[in-house]
Symmetry: C2
Subunit: 304 residues, 2 copies
DNA sequence: TAATTTCACAACGGTTGGTTGTCGCTGGCT
DNA sequence: AGCCAGCGACAACCAACCGTTGTGAAATTA
């Protein structure tokens, strides 16, 4: 492809060969094999160079795009001047969606969303400090921000109740957190010691709920099936989460209000990091982020 | 890249090897060379398979995109079920712009814009008939449409006068075609016998103009320089043309009205061609095409 | 007509990339 | 605790590939 582009741009095999640092015969061979592979004629050989055939004209932009894409792929991992790496915790929750929307509205922004394999907030701060990632969405208590890390709460995800069609609250337009007292809420897959565990512990204490955050996660399918079948089981999800659950199992998302519990996502980054994409991401989240309702509840250890 | 994607998706080298039809050792070598080339670790080897490293996570979508782009490039030239090929005459004039806009607003449309090397309308109809291209923009007289070709006038490009700052008409808001009688109009590069020659002959006869369409084309730069320096020279361009001329040489584009001469672009295609992208392109041009003024002039041999 | 430039073909050699054979390691099972 | 199955890495070998040199045919230029 690279050879074809070189020939197409220079108009002759010899010039392309010089450009690529190989012999003219090698260029001839490469083009011949490419043409044999595609089973079309790409270049019309004349006595003083080569013109592109119709197929060549069609292929040229595609070939350039292939080269550009390869270049981008290499840039993405090459140390030094690589795209901004943002740890989004989990690809299906609000931060990932927000980063993706930011990328959609500013496609020129060079950023990659990744998920650190360990869920521990301390390890995330270490990853930010040593440059493994440039920024990380976490729910870090204000007092626990280590030196050298700047933290800003940029994304509040309101919680919603997810229940099956047979649940008593299935048809409520919205519910109060306090209404959930006495109901069984099951959030599997939360490991003790993580920020999630701390959040749900604070939530259950604030409203007197019984949240069952223990037990292994048997997968989304299992949780879906359990919710759809049970008339008493419920779980909590962030309103921005991209769970496809409701669509397939007739599950209902019920907003929580009065107050609205929010999961506070804090963006951690190296203090003093002036990376333009990072600044742009912060600005985007500050301005075009979803509006936060007035009457919210957040854990006490969150600032603001 | 393909090997990396296979390993990333299956989670182990052996499974990727089976999928690719090579040995596990070959996969190991390929990944090793890719990692050496990129100078990063892509996969974390465990005793029961491989997990992606952070760099691997970042690379995976890029690698998939590379494969998809290569696939697209091959599709674009592979005979049978390839994207719609539309001959746009010349990449800088109205049809190319219209096709490009259509592609921009419907990116899912699979089409390629090409330019047949010969400017002859008869050869274009032959290219459409034998399937070299699927459609072609031409200015074909209504009576000259051969059997098996369907022709529809879908794009009217109003003409504009292009003059240098010293020309007497340089500051006019608009001019009548008849006002140009007596002025010298130079349109280089028009070969006799082409549809362009026929159009400008008809135009000059209708309004008593003296259009100098002879002479070789010494390139856009030469024409630009000549226009900028001369107080008497003028040329005609389509209003949709993407000539960058005015910006660099302080040239002026003066619309023509009363009547507005239009260059009628007719889309030729095989009669009965039901290709969905072709239909969509036609619809797009019919609906979102630029509004044609009421009082227009077109050559007499055009239908409608 | 001679000289030059274009690309293609043929033969050769080094490098690459795939295969087989084998080992070290880890995690599950007995 | 100890064995075994499975995964991946390393080494050696071999063939195919790719680029090189040398050369030729065709067309343009002087």
């Amino acid at each position: 492809m690279r050879t074809f582009v070189a020939v197409a741009e220079t108009g002759q095999f010899q010039a392309a060969a010089d450009q690529l640092g190989i012999s003219q015969q090698a260029v001839s061979k490469r083009i011949a094999t490419l043409e044999k592979h595609l089973e079309v004629t790409l270049l019309v050989r004349t006595s003083r160079g080569s013109r592109m055939s119709l197929d060549g004209q069609v292929l040229l932009p595609h070939a350039k795009k292939v080269l550009a894409t390869v270049e981008q792929a290499e840039q993405a991992v090459r140390p030094g001047s690589r795209p901004l790496r943002v740890d989004v915790l989990n690809r299906r929750i609000a931060p990932a969606q927000a980063v993706y929307r930011c990328y959609r509205s500013h496609p020129e922004m060079n950023l990659d969303a990744v998920t650190l394999s360990k869920e521990n907030a301390a390890q995330a701060t270490r990853a930010v400090l040593d440059g493994t990632v440039d920024a990380s969405f976490r729910a870090l208590p204000a007092g626990q921000v280590p030196a050298g890390i700047s933290a800003e709460r940029l994304l509040d995800a309101p919680l919603e109740l997810l229940v099956g069609p047979g649940h008593p609250l299935a048809d409520a337009p919205w519910v109060r957190p306090a209404d959930l007292a006495g109901h069984r809420i099951w959030i599997p897959g939360i490991r003790p010691g993580t920020e999630w565990a701390a959040f749900y512990r604070a939530l259950s204490e604030a409203f007197g709920l019984s949240i069952d955050a223990l037990g292994p996660n048997f997968g989304d399918e299992a949780l879906m099936d359990a919710l759809a079948d049970s008339a008493s089981l419920a779980t909590l999800v962030g309103s921005g989460d991209r769970y496809l659950w409701p669509q397939t199992h007739d599950l209902r998302r019920i907003p929580l209000h009065d107050p609205t519990p929010i999961y506070p996502h804090v963006l951690l980054s190296r203090a003093g990091d002036q990376h333009p994409v990072l600044t742009a991401l912060r600005d985007h989240l500050r301005t075009s982020g979803p509006r936060t309702p007035d009457d919210v509840w957040a854990p006490g250890w969150v600032d603001r």
